[in-house]
């Protein structure tokens, strides 16, 4: 049997040649039955716990349901939940804008800082392991614990950040309580929380680039910037794709950090789509509208992901 590179895989070919001649004994049938049993378990789990709820959620998004009335008594609303969200729900539109800003800020900073720190850690600096551990620690810290910690750190009156900036003669800032600053402060916290993870990913990518390329470039007289521009960046593009796509998806779904720090306040200036979805479902008992939000968000994530894959993947293979 030939692999996709044209190499003959002898054991696979031998197995394939044996298969048609194998007697279908009772033992074989029993084995096949067990194989189906084992395969069906995760498939059933997927259907019950993933596909089923998704389909049900889609059905609910076409109804008005308060989660308290029987499901078979949900009044039909057609697409009105979607129309309302996209034309009348100012909190949803505001939260959508906030979520985009959060994603753009978070993805941009995480990618730039993740790559920058990974380059530093990939060089011969002292205490590399210690630095890696330090950068990765926030990733394994409970998000709610981080949220509480930063609520104190950024407190307008007693937070350490304000104490430091006032020591330099600058005015105190309402980092988490000011409408123009709360969202960007959340971006900062999210970057602090996750940049360590992306450092590790970039570091793995950097260490996968053969040293030969750099040696050859140096022979050709390339400087450090040229090495980075023409070797490191192009070869890191698959890693970049992974980082950007996963970070974007995570950022568009942000919930716990916002829930625990600002709760969307002040006046929805830091409200995000998933937090608004949660409030709509469980605080206002509008599960139909919340489900419609989930599908709109899903469509947006899907669209953005496809664009990102298209932009980054094409160039990866072309180069």
């Amino acid at each position: 049997m030939k692999t996709q590179y044209g190499v003959i895989d002898a054991p696979a070919a031998k197995a394939a040649s044996l298969l048609p001649d194998m007697p279908k004994s009772a033992l074989m049938r029993r084995r096949m039955l067990w194989a189906y049993v084992f395969v069906s378990a995760p498939i059933i789990a997927l259907l019950v716990f993933l596909l089923g709820p998704i389909l049900f959620s889609g059905w609910v998004s076409l109804h008005r349901w308060d989660m308290l009335s029987p499901v078979d008594e949900m009044p039909w609303r057609g697409l009105s939940n979607y129309v309302f969200l996209l034309t009348k729900d100012r909190v949803f539109l505001k939260s959508l804008g906030n979520t985009f800003l959060f994603a753009i800020g978070g993805v941009g900073a995480n990618t730039a800082l993740g790559l920058g720190f990974a380059l530093l850690l990939n060089s011969r600096i002292r205490g590399r392991t210690l630095w890696r551990v330090l950068y990765f620690m926030p990733v394994i810290t409970a998000p709610l614990a981080l949220a509480v910690m930063f609520s104190f750190i950024f407190d307008r009156n007693f937070g350490i950040v304000n104490n430091v900036i006032t020591a330099f003669g600058l005015p105190r800032q309402p980092f988490l309580s000011g409408p123009s600053q709360a969202l960007m402060t959340l971006v900062f916290i999210a970057v602090y929380q996750f940049v360590g993870y992306y450092i590790v990913i970039f570091l793995a990518g950097l260490q996968g680039i053969p040293q030969d390329y750099y040696d050859a470039a140096q022979v050709d007289g390339a400087g450090k910037f040229q090495e980075f521009r023409f070797i490191t960046l192009p070869l890191l593009r698959p890693v970049m794709l992974f980082v950007v796509v996963t970070n974007t998806i995570g950022a568009l779904q942000v919930f716990d950090l916002v829930f625990a720090t600002t709760g969307g306040a002040p006046a929805n200036s830091s409200m995000t789509v998933v937090l608004h979805m949660y409030n709509t479902a469980f605080k206002f008992s509008r599960m139909g509208r919340a489900s419609a939000m989930a599908f709109i968000l899903f469509a947006i994530i899907m669209l953005i992901t496809l664009i990102q894959v298209r932009l980054l993947q094409d160039r990866t293979y072309q180069e």
Partner: protein, 433 residues
């Protein structure tokens, strides 16, 4: 061989079933869901439950508590998952939503008669739907008043709390202190941003004291977008402008630490204030009527309540009502009820039942609760309506927008009014479908 083994297994199974079924057949298990979750409150509730179970050995009661912020979610998700509690203690604003969805069981005739005989009509109305149906035993009655720090007022040069809004602005600004770095070390009037009741209830108390209304009398349209409502929100804007208040300071958290001069709050705060280290409850905490606005004639306020009710899916409704009645009834003349004792002595709240108000009159006679008792005579009950929670949250967000300078009072109230009326109309259409 096999039949013998099979018979042995069946015999063992039969024995197990027989022995395990004996206590099950006799025991009824009730689950009670409340939001009273501090260590002291849990112990007090458990003592009530233990006393009931001692008198009723065939009934077991399990207590489940969640934070107030999660209570509605817990009730909804529990119902959806088919694991709802038998007995709920919940905020009366949610009553119309729960009734419309068929969550609640109608009380027994005995329960309704007992409530009629022992609770004031205004409080009964607060736990009844517009058709006159009462749905449970009302518990705490919570009017709002101006709670102030006498020491901070005196240090600012005032020996009496503000009686009107001009005085409120003046005193609040005088109390506020800012250090060289711009940190607010002392604040005049504390607000409670991020908490819907903490924002909307004080707003409503001020609105009523300015002669305004929240909803129309028939609860069909919002009425807070009125000249009185705009004046009320302008008061907030003025207080922010003169430094009298700042939404980044929590009145709820910082008043007990002695750094906030005034806050508009409910009686159940007494336990917190008594335990506070930053303020001396007896000598420094004062309570005054809500300052009267320029369009108002006399102090007014808002009062909300809670109720015990039974889930319509409960398989043990008679036992659940019996348990609720036992907690709220007076078993010995002059002794008050178990819940009345808990409300007054553990929370500092005002009980609904007349026998509790009489039995625990001494406990409610301190300078703090007595002022709230007096206010309960004139405070207007919070108007409950289907969709009320959503309207309240929308209003909270717009009030916070004014506090942070993001919008004007006029735009804020016009925006909420439009959305609130749409919700009220939608709820009416739902009820008609």
């Amino acid at each position: 061989m096999y039949p013998k083994r099979l018979l042995s297994c069946l015999a063992l199974l039969a024995l197990l079933v027989a022995f395990s079924a004996v206590p099950l057949a006799q025991e009824t298990t009730l689950t009670m869901l409340t939001h009273w979750g501090t260590e002291d409150q849990l112990a007090a509730q458990q003592a009530i439950i233990d006393a009931y179970m001692a008198e009723n050995p065939d009934v077991a009661v399990e207590l489940v508590t969640v934070d107030f912020g999660e209570l509605r979610t817990k009730i909804i998700t529990g119902r959806t998952a088919g694991i709802s509690a038998d007995v709920y203690h919940f905020y009366h604003l949610w009553l119309p939503d729960f009734v419309n969805a068929g969550v609640l069981a109608e009380p027994t005739q005995d329960a309704l008669s007992y409530i009629d005989e022992n609770v004031a009509q205004g409080t009964i109305d607060a736990v009844s739907t517009s058709d006159g149906q009462t749905w449970g035993y009302p518990t705490e009655v919570n009017p709002y008043l101006l709670v102030y720090n006498k020491r901070l007022l005196a240090e600012a040069g005032y020996d009496a709390p503000p009686a009107n809004w001009e005085e409120l602005k003046e005193i609040a600004a005088a109390i506020t202190q800012v250090d060289d770095t711009g940190a607010i070390t002392q604040l005049g009037l504390g607000v409670m941003a991020g908490w819907d009741s903490g924002i909307v209830h004080p707003f409503s108390a001020l609105l009523y004291s300015n002669g305004g209304n929240y909803l129309s009398a028939d609860r069909r349209v919002a009425e807070f977008n009125s000249p009185q409502g705009i004046e009320t929100l302008q008061l907030y804007a003025d207080l922010v402008a003169n430094g009298g208040t700042d939404p980044s300071i929590s009145g709820l958290g910082d008043f007990p630490s002695g750094t906030v001069g005034m806050v508009i709050m409910a009686p159940w705060w007494r336990a917190t204030l008594r335990a506070a280290e930053g303020i001396d409850f007896d000598s420094e905490v004062g309570v005054a009527e809500i300052p009267v606005g320029p369009s108002g004639e006399a102090p007014s306020s808002i009062a909300y309540t809670w109720l015990f009710a039974v889930d319509s899916n409960s398989p043990n409704k008679p036992a659940a009502w019996d348990f609720i009645h036992w907690m709220n009834a007076e078993h010995e003349e002059g002794a008050g009820s178990a819940i009345g004792d808990f409300l007054v002595n553990a929370l500092g709240a005002i009980p609904s039942f007349s026998h509790d108000q009489a039995a625990f009159a001494d406990s409610m006679s301190d300078h703090y609760v007595s002022a709230f008792v007096a206010a309960s005579a004139y405070a207007r009950p919070e108007q409950i309506v289907a969709g009320g929670q959503e309207i309240k949250t929308l209003l909270q967000v717009e009030i916070e927008a004014v506090l942070t300078g993001m919008t004007t009072p006029e735009d804020a109230l016009a925006s909420v009014e439009m959305q609130a009326n749409a919700i009220l109309e939608e709820q009416r259409m739902m009820a008609e479908e």
